[in-house]
Symmetry: D2
Subunit: 135 residues, 4 copies
Amino acid sequence: MRESFRFPIRVYYEDTDAGGVVYYANYLKYMERARTEWLASLGCELSTLESVEGIVFVVHRVEIDYRNPAKLGEKIDATLTLVELNRASLAVEQDVVRGDALLTHARVALACVDRTSWRPKRIPSSLHHRLERLP
Amino acid sequence: MRESFRFPIRVYYEDTDAGGVVYYANYLKYMERARTEWLASLGCELSTLESVEGIVFVVHRVEIDYRNPAKLGEKIDATLTLVELNRASLAVEQDVVRGDALLTHARVALACVDRTSWRPKRIPSSLHHRLERLP
Amino acid sequence: MRESFRFPIRVYYEDTDAGGVVYYANYLKYMERARTEWLASLGCELSTLESVEGIVFVVHRVEIDYRNPAKLGEKIDATLTLVELNRASLAVEQDVVRGDALLTHARVALACVDRTSWRPKRIPSSLHHRLERLP
Amino acid sequence: MRESFRFPIRVYYEDTDAGGVVYYANYLKYMERARTEWLASLGCELSTLESVEGIVFVVHRVEIDYRNPAKLGEKIDATLTLVELNRASLAVEQDVVRGDALLTHARVALACVDRTSWRPKRIPSSLHHRLERLP
């Protein structure tokens, strides 16, 4: 039930602030990109989940530690490991790293909900099976 | 058919980039805030236009000149003047200013479209009347 | 050492995503606006802290719970209560609310650091005194 | 003096708004990413230009037409063609396309300026030579 996924990111001006580093909220964007590409790598496009299965994954809790800043032009990675899997929710640990250096670490808890009512809904079984079988 | 509208804005870290100034795309956010509040001042909430009238205003062209940068913490204004009004479209001139100093000037052309089909649709008559009668 | 501060915010298109609600990272922008205005209300402008005192406040940890979504056009508030004050760091509890309804709750830990070296630095004594004396 | 450059982009939630499409200001982010990668492909990293040559490229005018919207999850491209080259400025034409479909077209004028004074400064000769020799 574990899988390490890694997604490369480049820091552009849009990501930085007047402090010369990546703006603190933007690491959440990086992490969401990695989650999207991770699900896509498992055959699940978010737009298909929504239009076909009628579900969306919503974040309900984030704990994030900022250790070292990323800077303009740097090439960094957002990583992901599945750490919890339930019927209608899951949790991932996500790092932003520059080579071996840890920049930011987060634990992100997500709920699978009906796209209209936002009520909890089971993770589609085909996706759930794939998540269970992760090495 | 003219009206000058002014909306105050404060520059936060989220708006700036590593160059120490407001990121160039973010002036479009400021201008959209001013358009939203201008319509609200005329009794038109965007969310009501969408849910009740079934229309949205979409930007189809922007010409924007960057003269002087806005910086962290500054209190600036986004202004708006209606310069063109048609059945299903309009155009506004918008400045971002710091006191008397012009920072950015734009002309923004908007189309009124059906929220679903994105086909042109007449501006609701009550709003059109109010826009025509602007001093 | 407690103080409740409240800052009004309007939800614009820029804040929302294709799910029809405020994008999860953007609540951190709202919270940062409230922190900036709270410090300003205590006589501390961030740009002055940086240029005169040579310090910046950097976020080193956020725990955030998403309870209910904010939507386009809504008028909401970001609140702030100081919950921890040390020589070179502090922590605040921050809510985003719509009227009485809690939308998002966070605890944000900040460090006072040298603007160049990013090493911990004492909170300027005039600001520290004001923070200590908060009701 | 012409060169067509193409940079792939994926549309994430962060890019979209409650209208279900890419927020209009965010196309400027896509275009800036393409400009950054284009310069990098010519051996010029923005961060090096700034720290070594003491210059930055600032946008002073954008004309942008919005034709068709990009949507969540789509894979699109930002293209770039150099159309004007002067001693201290240049202009590029930039499209955002989905396959053969044109979504957004812009002309972006940039000035080369001193990083501190923001006064016009010659484009570094090594870069200028490379730009002149583009096919």
